[in-house]
Subunit: 336 residues, 6 copies
């Protein structure tokens, strides 16, 4: 069988959407979205387990796995209104990060090149490097901005003797030119890392990083409006990278480097919705769901809903762009 | 012994209130409130375990189980200011939903007929059908509105080949006429169920369902004010049904069908307080606490506090209605 | 899609064996074994959760889910040497035990009628009634003996007002005549149930029940030899029913009615191996794996290995019966 | 209410036996056995939590809490054949070990003085001091031997600056003369404590301590036979003290000082049975069940079954002593 | 070795800061802050486990334990900008609360007397009595106000027959005069304890207790502003006592007496920051982290971050007081 | 600081033994044993987490961490009778297996070259390659036999595209000649891996692999006697590699690839004792303890005790070799 399927456990697709095979472009020629699993935790600096993230995110739902999810909030069924496939996992051996990231970049680029939006299920945040690079190679080096929800800046230089790892992808992306430093929008940072030297480097790149203090003082919505405007200034597309640890560990314990004081799940879902409804998103990854540290699957459920929220907003954006019905209004009653 | 006691484990009453026996009306003739356990999870569509909900909710408190709980917030001791009994559990075999629900309806009706408020501890949400029906049979078919906190509308038609189950009680209630569709107030809905066909049916019934998007955009308080006004428009009483999954799974993991992006515990407690303080509540159920998926009993604790909050607000409502002291003011200092 | 697939979660087959559809006999006409999922916990008297047993047992393995499992101990690859299909789950709504058990009996009978061995993944032990009945309807009422590993006799009469449930299947089987009382071999009983009246009924049926005390005093192997001889005395086939709670709860915590003092996992695997190697097994069920109470999936892993051990021994029995190679010798070195 | 009830959580009695009140001797004048809860963990040197042991042990059973438990193995219903009461808990504030132990000694002595066997549910092993002392004060100082199942000798001198604690009760008992050193039978010791100085003291007292190495090399049964003979040599009664950590932590994780390499649950139950069947037991405690570290309640279940095994063997011993029926034979079939 | 080190487990210092020895003042003569472990849970009224709090709080961080933690929010590295030592644990035997609290008071006073801020890691809240007393003995009896984040008032009189315990420290502090009743600021109270009699006593002392209802109705920030003004009115210093149960149990499950409806982690961190930035804090304790009930260490992580937030704000306060750079502005971008 | 310390979390040494620094041979010139941490899980094929194994194994003990552990069974205090140091962890980045294994081999060889026995705490079983190679480089290529307790043969060829990983070290060791195939003694194999091709390769190497079936049929002791005799036939030393998954998952759940039906903890400890007492052990590793999947630390406790058992037996072997006291006799009473 040429399709890799699932690296760990039985093969399942995201909530039952049809499978495709990356090596056979005909199997996804008409895709709007292709799900790609990146079951890799060889780059994490602390708690491992995100290798089981793709499997957990695909399955964490109590409804039938029938390839349909009508959104109450947005009035679309993203899995049906869009043409969504699941390409299974990329083989990513934890013990060889360079080979693994290269394989993922190839996969992501193949999806982008086919005209589809890759939605990558991590895996640790190391994968943002191949994810955004793969997309940028198709949409234009430096032409894709990055909206990055995270407790951490992920702009480290060398960790454990390696240029690659879950604390460094954003630096590598800027260094390579794949993403412009001044089109990097980081939301939710907090805690005690990185130190002044790295912050100085970030400032030099003109990154825009919203620490929780600013988000609380100014209001999340105002900050998002500002950031989202920057994201489409002289860029052609947006890559959305969601590290589930942007949410408070109390609500998302199943992750590797928990940092107290984060967003609520509700805030993250709303922010992701706005991002995908307002901006021309060309790629998405959802990372750092670590099932061994999860309880009652709540972090995996959140990861699943972040994916669905993104897809639903993309579908609604397309429908509203097509006109014919009134645009989305968050104040409108469900049954109105 | 004619009293059934506890279906699972040793017999305990809610925080030590005195027991009564449903088959002996004299044992609760003077009741203001009668607690009834509904240890049933035969109707759940996913994670079971709510059969242990009544036992868990009754016990989840670190204070002495002495039948007294003076509320700091409301300045009443509901378990003493009201006459509260615990009738133990109704026998509800998981494998026979129709027999089980019928037995519960009989029990709830007996309580209502005695002039007391039944407070039913679930169990899965299947039980809302006998709960609200039992109350309506006493207070008047169609004369009781329903305030319904939940992530899910629970208006499905047939699931797993059955008319009964935790996804369908609200539809059965409206179909039977027990509760008017246009006096159904749903708060906290979200996620990806039900689909358009069911939503259309709900709109046809003129249900008023507040999805989280509207609650966030307009503010929870404003929406509650609107809903609570509707609840007493041409109705004589209110049944309050609280599905603990209305709270975010991060804060209430012990439940069967967790849907990320919900209310905080604080919001739910405040909303329940307002409901029971402002409205003529004639029945309550608290459902979907599933201990096998709970951690450190936090969801059971929340269920216990939802019950106490409801009872305390009812007690305070009665005291303020009696006059003689200044009405409740949330801005007043505790020690004022 | 006519195939039911998985009742809970995504559709997966047992370790990747090919699927078949019960409604389409052509899809399994050549089967030696057909796996059937019975995701039912509506009959349990205490902790629920076995509805997730079929899914957990199918998946609990760290090896690739490739439909191959060469046994070190027995030198066969049961999933390849035998023709094994997985028919997915039977829809079994927890709230309607009679309808659910009837549906399962139909499924099991269909498998047996096709000449294959049904291997049913429970689910609570209620399912032994349709499992053994379905097999006996094909192989002959009263012509199939029952080898029953369990901490409990499961010979109750009426529980919670019902004739059906996980404490009663063995009584129903004997009453209906499907299985002869004197060809019921129970191994591993212990604890404090049932009481004298039921024990008297069991003695009247001439059941042979090995309590742990006898197993320890006489030795498990001697007792098995005795029991297995009875099993093939004037019977044409053997149904093997394994309740995972026969193993000590310390080693198999994920179950509903744990009774301390049981077998070790090693003892169970060896006993199952002997049963399937020495006797003409015509049906198997593995029940009472309850994932919500499991830790690190160890009980699900055990359930998975019980199935594999049974299949491997069946395969080896067939190979040795065919001759041509030396029969299985437990003392022979692995690499001899 | 003069009865203390439960120190933590709702009041429940052991599996539903009737309550009694220690301060009212009339309430247990006819008792054969009185259960006493000792919810104390102020003496533990590591993981706390045994304060919840009495509550957990009383409740850890899936059968109805109806005050009846017919033993399959022994053919008696100890809770009915004997007159068993539950006196509830003794108030034992963790922060004041001397006051707490004194209160317990008073309670235990009251039970013994009433002619009943006290069965104390711990609690950490500190309580063995008041337990055995309370019994010896009635039956004679130095006239009661001690059969002690444990991974640890509990013969420390001063720990954390205190003479009292769960590592020292056995030394205090010998020093006070309550129990003779040469009638101390310790079974299951292992690990790395105590050191040579304490071992020398123990040898000086002529204690007989069976380390696991000797138990494995000589066989548990042979060692028990030897120890049990000593226990009744020039003593009038036997106190049985069971620390659940004598069982391997893999099978009994819910304890404070787990030491790998212990007995199986089956071995412990059989050894307790022999002790209570063969010897004139006048007091029992079951200690060190620590629910916060338990999984799926398996250690609490084991503690519950140790109590039942002891009571059942006592009941059977009395029945067989009365004659009239054949004595207990472990090789006899259950339904013989 | 004269240093006590860690009472449970290996000796570690808070995130790798250098150790000091309380008995050797020269070892911390230059300290700004001294961390002291108070591994005591003998005073808890319900779930124990806080004895492991000091160890858990010291370790709960995914970054290198290198004695450096540059705060993104405050632009200081408290562990380096301040001179911080860790004195290890005070020996506090759970079974002797009076001796234990006395030992802690001596330790805390020694730190204060050396001119440093003691930061005490609990342990249960019993320790607030020696903590605040030890500080007040140095800074002046009645001259230190107390800012107290907690779900509970901790003003009980006698519990379990003892004047000392985690429900009574605040009463003892006021009774002794160590802290003035009218300079007691309690934030986050809620639930059903204490009763009217104790509340009347509290009012008599002119305590200022903000129940959650007032905090929600008026806004947390406004209440803090009011409370913090009071704290420095005719007092020379502030002791900050943070009971982690002020946070909602959903976000901080690892605690002994969880009360639903609390603050979010974000709110607590911001309130602690304001307290330590705006007020002259002379002592801190962080209490009631109970690892046995924690999941994925999230409550321990929160405790660790509360300590760091306090230290970072103290460091920033000192830097801003020294002038030379613009004062802290929460609205300023991270990289501005 | 030149010493690496702990890769994850605070630096601690094994039960408090003194530290040494591998780069400074003077710091361990007199060592009998040097502990080395190998916090690597980049080679695991399924559940990760063994990176936290070294830290967990070092700490999993309820006794003071004082560098002393007098063995009850063997009458020696290995941590004092031998000169034992802890060199801390080797930096082993999960994402680069080749660099990580090379660094470990250097470390292990340094220890062996210093005349000490390296005891390596894993980490996944990938590390057996550098562990045994490092030892063999000093003691002679092909001159060290390997006693290997494991559920798995670990003789795979290429997995996930890599020659290195936890399923392949034994093949690499034989291929390189570091260890002779016919001096490879594998004990405890079971389950469904590897397949016939690999088994044929193993047979060609003349490996001796004891599957559980043979161990049960012939008896563990007899098999060990046979294997241990082979181990010293024409070899100068023995490397002992203990994969904790050789124990049944019910007793050792915290591991990555659990295979039901294993040894008991008791059996493993006794077998390790015999190995280290009877054979000239020159190196040890203890691998596959995976804390994220552990419960109540029981698997970490087991790992800790395996290390102590090995060290104690080595110490006793040396003492008995020195003569002067009677040799070790397992039947001798503890206090004899």
């Amino acid at each position: 069988m040429s399709r890799y399927g699932s690296m760990y456990g039985p093969e399942v697709t995201f909530l039952g959407v049809p499978p495709c095979t990356l090596a056979e472009p005909a199997s996804y020629f008409d895709a709007d979205v292709v799900i790609v699993g990146a079951p890799f935790d060889g780059g994490t600096s602390h708690r491992p387990g995100t290798r089981f993230g793709p499997s957990a995110i695909r399955q964490a739902c109590y409804l039938p796995h029938d390839g349909s999810r009508p959104s109450l909030a947005l009035g679309v069924d993203a899995l049906r209104d869009l043409c969504v496939y699941d390409a299974g996992d990329v083989e990513m051996f934890a013990g060889d990060i360079e080979r693994s990231l290269a394989a993922l970049e190839t996969a992501v680029h193949a999806v982008a090149a086919a005209g589809a939006i890759p939605v990558v299920l991590g895996g640790d945040h190391s994968i943002a490097l191949p994810d955004a690079t793969g997309v940028a190679r198709h949409h234009g080096i430096g032409r894709v901005s990055l909206v990055h929800f995270d407790a951490h800046a992920d702009t480290g230089d060398v960790e454990f003797g390696s240029l690659y790892g879950h604390g460094q992808p954003m630096r590598r992306l800027i260094e390579s030119g794949a993403v412009r430093g001044d089109r990097f929008l980081q939301i939710g940072l907090r805690g005690y890392w990185p130190g002044p030297q790295t912050l100085a480097w970030m400032a030099d790149q003109r990154m825009r990083s919203y620490e929780m203090t600013e988000l609380v003082a100014r209001g999340l919505d105002e900050c998002l409006t500002e950031a989202y405007a920057l994201a489409v200034d002289d860029c052609d597309g947006v890559f959305l990278s969601v590290d589930v640890d942007v949410v408070d560990p109390g609500m998302a314990p199943g992750t590797g480097t928990p940092e107290p004081g984060g967003l609520t799940s509700r805030q993250l879902l709303d922010a992701v919705r706005r991002c995908c409804y307002e901006l021309p998103v060309v790629g998405v990854d959802v990372v750092e769901v670590a099932p061994p540290y999860d309880h009652a699957d709540i972090t995996a459920y959140l990861g699943n809903r972040v994916v669905l929220e993104a897809l639903s907003a993309i579908a609604r954006r397309r429908r509203d762009a097509a006109g014919g019905s009134p645009p989305w209004d968050p104040r409108r009653p469900l049954l109105g």
